[in-house]
């Protein structure tokens, strides 16, 4: 049948490219798993990673995590942003951007909802932390660390609030509405007296603890402890997101991203899961915002502009939309490049623009392309059936059960009283 190539309902360049790849490589059965992905080098890495046993994965992961923790202390030459920008603070900003990208990746990468106003949730998180800790605010004060869960809750709530009316829209329309929403939050911060506009909130709280010299451990200028805190949170979020990705929810998101109508007709409550993606993404964004607010110690309406919002999207796309490790890489890079190359920081948008164009041409899936390992229940179930059938064939010495056709119709394998059992 492969010679009758009907029109393909595909709109992505990658699938087209992949399909030509397949044809030219003369597809053989079973070799397909690696073939359809265009980025072979990285693809081979991720394949090898996936085939590794769990313990071996840990052996690789632990050194990476240790290196990540040591990063601000080691201050590696060439890589460092000094002189010019404090290296531990640069690490902290990279970690924040990585966290943001992981959160936005849930919305854009998994569920396929283009959210151009993600900065709004970041802002909500920042303001939550600031208004609950800064002496400039009239609200009740709580310890800084408690503002983190509050920031998550508030931004998730805002996410649901925004999601309920807007997630009935699709594609471009959703992008426009979210873009507007990003601006609304910034403008609200300007006009609502309690949010104090440009003067903003000084002395936003920080985690407790004072060093030997009487200076707080989590001082604004002390990047290392902030970086460690953000890194720990990032790792926790990664675990949660990873589990989510492999669950029913993750499958539902990917189905929605691929084809929303088809997902709905498969029994996926698409609207509910889109709101979930929005809310969870918002929660992570709010958390990142609260961390940022605490570290900088100052929150006002100037930081939450559309440009930063687009930068967040760029981080996700750059890293590889739908791949959480890619998102971390993309987020860190987007934060790192202007800090490292201060001389060209002014041209950062020019550079990002060019980089994105090149990435779209040569790595249309991002630096680390997404590859979903879904919870393929069917695989396991089918393997069981196959084993059962072959066992039966061997026992009965009955080779006349071709491919299990007759086998699956046998009474013990067909508990349902419907018509199927009588057919095959």
């Amino acid at each position: 049948m492969s010679m009758f190539d009907g029109p393909k309902p595909l709109n992505t360049a990658k699938s087209d490219q992949a399909s030509t790849d397949m044809e030219s490589s003369g597809l053989t059965q079973g070799s397909s798993a690696a073939a359809p992905r265009p980025n072979r080098k990285f693809g081979a890495w991720s394949d090898r990673w996936r085939e590794m046993p769990r313990q071996k994965q840990w052996l690789v992961l632990i050194p990476i995590v240790i290196v990540a923790f040591l990063l601000p202390v080691v201050n590696p030459p060439f890589i460092t942003t000094e002189p010019g920008n404090d290296w531990p603070l640069a690490c902290q900003l990279m970690a924040i951007y990585a966290l943001v990208a992981v959160g936005l990746n849930i919305v854009i990468g998994y569920a396929g909802l283009l959210d151009l106003g993600y900065i709004a949730f970041f802002a909500v998180g920042s303001y939550t932390a600031a208004m609950l800790t800064s002496p400039d605010s009239a609200f009740i004060k709580i310890p800084y660390l408690w503002t983190l869960p509050v920031a998550i809750a508030v931004s998730m709530f805002v996410g649901v609030l925004l999601g309920l009316p807007t997630l009935r829209l699709r594609g471009d329309y959703l992008a426009i509405v979210t873009l507007g929403f990003g601006e609304i939050v910034r403008i609200l911060a300007t006009i609502i007296p309690a949010m104090k506009g440009q003067p903003g909130f000084q002395n936003v709280g920080h985690p407790p603890g004072v060093g030997a010299d009487g200076i707080p451990i989590f001082a604004n200028s002390n990047g290392t402890p902030w970086y460690w805190l953000t890194l720990v949170i990032l790792i926790i979020i990664l675990f949660l997101v990873g589990n989510m990705e492999r669950s029913r929810v993750g499958r539902a998101w990917i189905a929605i991203r691929e084809d929303e109508d088809a997902a709905e007709t498969m029994g996926v409550p698409t609207f509910k899961y889109k709101v979930w993606a929005f809310a969870l993404g918002a929660g992570v964004g709010g958390l990142a915002g609260a961390l940022m607010g605490g570290q900088v110690g100052f929150v006002n309406n100037q930081k939450f502009d559309v440009v930063t919002s687009i930068l967040f999207v760029a981080a996700v796309v750059l890293g590889g939309s739908g791949n959480k490790v890619g998102a971390i890489l993309g987020g860190a890079l987007v934060a790192y490049i202007p800090l490292r190359f201060t001389a060209i920081a002014e041209y950062k948008f020019l550079i990002f623009g060019l980089a994105l164009v090149f990435i779209m041409i040569y790595r249309s899936q991002g630096l680390l392309p997404a590859k979903q390992r879904l919870l393929a229940y069917g695989t396991k179930a089918y393997a069981a059936v196959r084993k059962e059938n072959s066992a039966r064939v061997r026992k009965n010495g009955d080779p006349g059960a071709p491919g299990g056709t007759a086998g699956s119709g046998l009474p013990p394998a067909a508990p349902e009283p419907n018509a199927e059992g009588a057919t095959s």
Binding site: P36, T265, M266, G267, V268, T270, G378, Y382, N389, T405
Partner: protein, 237 residues
């Protein structure tokens, strides 16, 4: 009691009315074909039955129960499964993952392996390609996958929207043979087609749709013999 019953159903896109007071029934065990030209409202009818579109007036009953207001994803659980027009498979999922998505609404996971076996028996090609990404397969294979995936929810009523679209003649015959086979296994099939010849030959009953209204109805053979239909849809003067 009919398996599916449409009563005075009208569907609008904004102000444009796509379906005018349509009524028909599908009995259990039948193959029913809806044929019509482009823009006659075939796909709209399918989407209304599967729940992707809401009728502005009229009622839809499934197994005697009013499902007019029921969401699409709940109708799947009730036993209505659709292989959408243009196939609508998930290109970045493998064949097996696509089929697995078909079981999403199912409560009884125990029968999944068996249904997978059944789909692979109907479409051996899918088994050969179980690890291949859906988007990299040929049109015919994607069509098989769409039908197979729809079967994975073990539907009582299978909706097929233009299963022959864009396929080579030889393969169209094969697809229709398989549809008959699926029907023989106890699944009621409602299909929408432009390929009137095959669709009517295989169907117990058929309806002809013109600009949102049913203009002819009868058994498949009656419709095939009807000179007006012959002229309009079968290209025979």
């Amino acid at each position: 009691m009919s398996l599916l019953e449409l009563e005075d159903v009208s569907v609008h896109y904004g102000r444009i009315q796509a379906i005018h007071n349509m009524s028909f029934t599908v009995e259990e065990g039948e193959i029913v074909s809806l044929i019509g030209a482009n823009g006659a409202g075939k796909t709209t009818t399918m989407k209304t039955i599967s729940g992707l579109l809401n009728p502005s007036t009229g009622t839809i009953k499934f197994m005697g129960e009013d499902i007019t207001k029921m969401k699409a994803h709940i109708r799947v659980v009730q036993g209505i499964s659709q292989a959408p027009e243009g196939r609508g498979i998930f290109p970045a999922m493998t064949v097996l993952e696509n089929l697995d998505m078909g079981t999403y609404g199912r409560k009884d996971r125990s029968g999944v392996g068996e249904d997978l076996e059944r789909v692979f028996t109907l479409f051996p090609r899918l088994k050969e390609r179980e690890k291949q990404f859906g988007g990299t397969m040929s049109g015919g294979e994607q069509q098989m996958l769409a039908i197979g995936r729809a079967l994975m929810s073990r539907p009582k009523l299978l909706l097929l929207d233009e299963p022959s679209m864009g396929l080579a003649p030889q393969f169209i015959r094969q697809i229709f043979k398989i549809i008959t086979e699926i029907n023989g296994q106890g699944t009621t099939v409602l299909l929408v087609e432009q390929n009137a010849n095959q669709a009517l030959a295989r169907a117990n009953r058929g309806f002809v749709l013109e600009t949102g209204e049913i203009t002819h109805s009868g058994t498949g053979k009656e419709l095939l013999a009807n000179p007006a239909i012959k002229e309009a849809y079968l290209g025979v003067g």
